[in-house]
Symmetry: C2
């Protein structure tokens, strides 16, 4: 068994790369630009060149490297085939096979949100657990499900897409996915701002949020300083997300829910609002699930993809 492995997180603008030892310590990380032109065909060769250069710099032989894991935004099955990644220009092909040819080393590939969940399980907020649901609250809402220490990719790579769970029958505005009433429309950073703006427009109540062009961070700062309108937004956020996670628990029954993404920087107060409604709606057998904050931030992807190749 090699002593090292590489984790790669392919994003729309940059590719993050990390060199790990097999104990899970991040030894070095760096970035290269993502060249999306021409169907993104330069991306994997660029990644391979960067890894081989790093091995050369460190005088590292192939036999010392356990393999390379790659996370990318798009549906990717357990065989390492991506079924289109719009942001990268990619169509359908086997990331795993193409990268194996480029590197002559073991390669595994997975969806970026799923891989981030694996990273948080390995060295982050869910360290020590092997049955985990990660919810990423950013511009959108991503999710990743870990069962017995392994990603649940789903039959078409849509496993853990909990941002697109239908949660509101009254919604008239469409989500990016085309449906109306997706969880993402209420609990993403964008969704939280929308909930706040609706409340601000509904009446003339005083609120610190009237003084700014509202961001999700502003809302949570206002919650912490006791602003009643912001606290109503937080209740609504908690109601939507807590209830949705109770539904997730009836399916996957995880030990722990990890909340990540930009919105999670609000801290423990966020968990309090989620837990309040989770406990109200969860099936008795699932009520003991823990809630923690993600700990790896933007590095979750490189940690998780490194772990992906160690899982084999």
């Amino acid at each position: 068994m090699g002593k090292y492995c590489f984790g790669v997180d392919v994003g729309g603008t940059t590719v993050k790369l990390g060199l790990f030892n097999t104990d899970g310590d991040l030894l070095e990380k760096w970035e290269i630009p993502t060249v999306t032109e021409d169907g993104g065909k330069a991306i994997l060769p660029d990644v391979a060149r960067s890894i081989l250069k790093k091995m050369d710099e460190r005088g590292m032989g192939r036999d010392e490297v356990e393999g390379v894991g790659i996370g990318a935004p798009g549906p990717i099955d357990s065989e390492g085939t991506v079924y289109g990644a719009v942001n990268l220009g990619w169509g359908t092909f086997s990331i795993k096979k193409e990268m194996q040819v480029l590197l002559n080393m073991p390669v595994e590939a997975g969806n970026d949100a799923n891989v981030a969940a694996l990273g948080e399980m390995w060295q982050g907020g869910a360290k020590g657990y092997d049955s985990v649901v990660l919810v990423t609250l950013g511009t959108g809402v991503g999710g990743g499900i870990i069962v017995d220490g392994r990603i649940l990719p789903g039959s078409t790579g849509a496993g853990g897409e909990i941002g697109h769970m239908h949660v509101n029958d009254e919604e008239k505005t469409a989500c990016n996915c085309g449906n109306c009433g997706c969880l993402e429309q209420y609990v993403s950073a964008t969704g939280i701002v929308r909930l706040a703006k609706e409340k601000l427009a509904a009446d003339g109540r005083p609120s610190s949020l009237r003084e700014t062009s509202v961001s999700a961070k502003d809302v949570w700062d206002a919650v912490k300083s006791g602003d009643p309108l912001a606290m109503e937004v937080a209740e609504e956020f908690g109601w939507y997300l807590g209830k949705a996670l109770a539904a997730v628990a009836c399916v996957a029954n995880p030990e722990v829910f990890v909340i990540g993404g930009g919105v999670s920087k609000a801290g423990e107060v966020l968990l309090d609002y989620i837990k309040k409604y989770y406990h109200k709606y969860a099936f008795t057998g699932c009520r003991g699930a823990l809630f923690t904050l993600a700990r790896l931030g933007n590095d979750a992807g490189i940690y998780g993809s490194a772990k992906l190749v160690l899982n084999g």
Copy 2:
């Protein structure tokens, strides 16, 4: 590898047993009574004795038997430990270990609904698929999730408990589980009757259902003969279940949903109502999931538990 395996389905009144070859053909099936007295302590010894007797009858050696799988009603983890089974009088103990001592053969154990899902995947409605959700519509609503050909038991054995997904905020009547508004309250046999009775009580419209003491079968028979009130019940049933399965798909993203239990005897018409609302609410990446009827009936448990021990 042995040529045979046994599948055991422990119910509250009888234990069903099946002898299979490892290709999945059921060679013989029989039943013994379930003796629940005294904490159900006779159940496993009775099962063991019955299996050893069958092997003796057939002149079958231990080396010819791959092992014994056991399904039982209660939360059972992937190690074969049951955490209480009220209907059997059982507390918490390792079914797997106790049975291995009694039989000196490999044993696996799982929850009965999960094991039934595995059976339907192996030789039933989902044969040829390995990513499956089984929904059992009986007195209650059970569920089992199969990912990559294996049961998803969940961290506390509550994986696939989709009957207790919260689907109605307005509900004032409590489910058996203690929560209000569980899926089971609307789409089980009992739930369908309840929906029908509410509609019958709401106004004086003529309906063939007024002439009988309504059963779920009566409702579906009336649907097939074009009774408008019954068809409204079917729409409501489809709305609750289709929407809930769309939520399940955002988590587990199966290839196929299998609908079983007594209610499923209504046939394809049931699937039509479910699919109508599933397609309305499902995330685009999950919309291609298939819907089929269960095929193994009451034998799903013995098939699935046999497969459980073959999976190892």
